[in-house]
């Protein structure tokens, strides 16, 4: 019996991340997703600031910008595949996909030229602005 209970707990925990797959996206799920975009943009801005001030290694900046970009792409794909029942959620979802696209572009600037200090400054400003936009979008839900 104890082993069965243990198996149940393991299966229940394993299944947890998949609960919620399918069906319409809820405002809470959308808010979490936008939170990820906000956080990733803010982290990108921090990285870009160090690129702008020549305080980092170029290979690290390139690889980490790529990792952050992958997070944003993954989030955009999830949002794109999700359905929205309510019109306000659908509008926010569309705005979030657009934000993800712009965050990805700004991160791409660091990835392409991790030694370019001027480009780093531009990316930092853009990413800070996009992080704020994501915050406002999440607050509006």
């Amino acid at each position: 019996m104890r082993h069965r209970l243990g198996t149940f707990v393991v299966l229940a925990v394993s299944a947890a991340p998949f609960v919620g797959c399918g069906g319409a996206i809820t405002p809470d799920e959308l808010s979490r997703s936008i939170g990820t975009l906000e956080s990733t943009a803010a982290e990108g801005a921090l990285l870009a600031k160090d690129v702008a001030r020549d305080r980092t290694k170029a290979t690290f900046a390139r690889v980490h910008a790529r990792d952050l970009s992958d997070v944003v792409d993954h989030e955009a794909e999830k949002l794109n595949d999700a359905q929205a029942d309510r019109s306000d959620v659908a509008a926010a979802k569309s705005d979030a996909i657009d934000l993800a696209d712009r965050i990805g572009t700004a991160l791409g600037q660091i990835q392409t030229a991790p030694g370019d200090e001027r480009g780093g400054r531009t990316a930092e400003q853009a990413l800070n602005r996009l992080s704020e936009d994501a915050g406002k979008l999440a607050d509006g839900l």
């Binding site: 393991v10 229940a12 690290f60 980490h64």
Partner: protein
């Protein structure tokens, strides 16, 4: 100098144990998410592992029995086999996460591909295991992993609010499930089963006897204490850098980015070197723990102190576990997610790991004059009770908080 060299086992067990790839990110997430109020959980976990590591080292010094031999003797066939299978699954999952993590860290230096560096890491770890003596493995990975002390320096340089940090070491009541998720995770990270399996088997490898009681205490208290300090450093620095910016770290690169803030490229490089060797140490801890446990359960001859080719079953199992970890890592699974699951799933195995140590440590027939004193007995049972509570709370909090998210 001799004493410094003798605490290598504790250092590698600690930094390979609770500053491994998942815990590095987990500590940073705790700092960015709940901040310094979760700090008290670190010393709670560290004191727990110190008590049980000291006890298991003392048991080895007296009886020459490592932890899985105690499991086998105290549990009988069925329960010891269950403990073996559960610990092997978890340890191999963690091993694969560490190998994957090594691939990521090396790629930050050279930008070729993570997959390529996972393969390179497998060869490097296998070569280190084959060519270096046990003491050499401990020292190379344990001491170079101490480059992670950069996080302590970083947390000081970032000028934290000392009042807030002081208050963080005092437990407070909290209603947020996320807070408790991180508290439970921080305590559990210090008590990962493979640390204690590695520590007790390592004591056998080093041939500890009754004259090594001081060395055992130094390893348990200084080694694990250093690991705890690094955990605190990462949490505090993350609370300084990430929390105000609303950043939730998701990768090992995010953890490295913390050290870059106060010390620029030097901080970054030190952090990456520290992470590389800490994660390398964790890879060795986990690979050996899995092979030790299997050999001790099966009654095979085991250990790095013998020539590996003279004990083919132990050597083959060590190689097999490394290859299994490599195969899982090469599927591209996210090492951070993998260790999060490994930590959560390991928690139910923790009571099964620690109970035999307590029973034998309290047994005067086995331990003679080295039996647990009243303090060790009380603290041991108190921690065992805490471990049982964690085992029940962890899966519930994981589901309730969506993995702390």
């Amino acid at each position: 100098m001799k004493t410094i060299l003798q605490i290598a086992l504790g250092v590698i067990a600690a930094i390979g144990g609770f500053v491994d790839i998942g815990d590095l990110v987990f500590n940073a997430q705790a700092g960015s998410s709940v901040g310094t109020p979760a700090l008290w959980a670190v010393p709670v976990g560290v004191v727990g592992i110190m008590i049980f590591a000291e006890m298991s080292g003392r048991i080895v010094a007296v009886s020459k029995k490592p932890n899985f031999v105690l499991v086998k003797e105290r549990y009988g066939r069925n329960l010891s086999t269950f403990t073996l299978v559960a610990s092997l699954v978890l340890t191999v999952l963690t091993l694969s996460a560490e190998l994957g993590g090594l691939g990521f860290v090396l790629n930050y230096f050279f930008d070729v591909s993570v997959s390529f560096f996972v393969l390179a890491a497998l060869f490097a770890v296998a070569a280190a295991i084959y060519f270096l003596p046990f003491g050499g493995l401990e020292r190379v990975f344990g001491y170079l992993g101490l480059a992670l002390l950069v996080y302590i320096a970083a947390s000081l340089k970032l000028d934290p609010d000392w009042g807030e940090i002081g208050r963080g070491f005092v437990p407070e009541s909290h209603s947020a499930a996320v807070y408790w998720y991180f508290v439970v995770g921080l305590i559990a990270a210090a008590l990962m089963p493979y640390e204690i399996y590695f520590y007790s088997s390592g004591a056998v490898e080093e041939g500890w006897d009754r004259s090594d009681m001081k060395v055992n205490r130094a390893n348990a208290f200084v080694g694990f204490g250093l690991g705890g300090l690094i955990s605190v450093g990462i949490l505090v620095a993350s609370a300084q850098v990430f929390k105000p910016a609303g950043i939730s770290p998701t990768s090992i690169g995010s953890v490295a980015l913390i050290a870059q803030q106060p010390y620029a490229e030097l901080g970054l490089v030190l952090a990456l070197i520290g992470i590389l060797f800490a994660v390398g140490g964790a890879t060795i801890d986990t690979a050996f723990s899995a092979a030790y446990n299997l050999a001790q359960h099966q009654g095979w001859k085991w250990g790095k102190r013998f020539k590996l080719l003279d004990e083919p079953r132990f050597t083959l199992s060590l190689a097999g576990f490394l290859l299994a970890g490599f195969a899982i890592a090469e599927t591209g699974v996210d090492p951070i997610e993998l260790t999060e699951y490994a930590v959560i799933f390991s928690i139910p195995v923790i009571p099964l790991t620690y109970l035999p140590i307590l029973l034998v440590g309290n047994d005067r027939n086995v331990m003679g004059e080295y039996v647990n004193g009243p303090l060790a007995r009380v603290m041991g049972w108190a921690y065992f009770g805490l471990i049982c509570v964690l085992a029940l709370a962890a899966p519930v909090l994981f589901v309730a908080t969506n993995g702390g998210g």
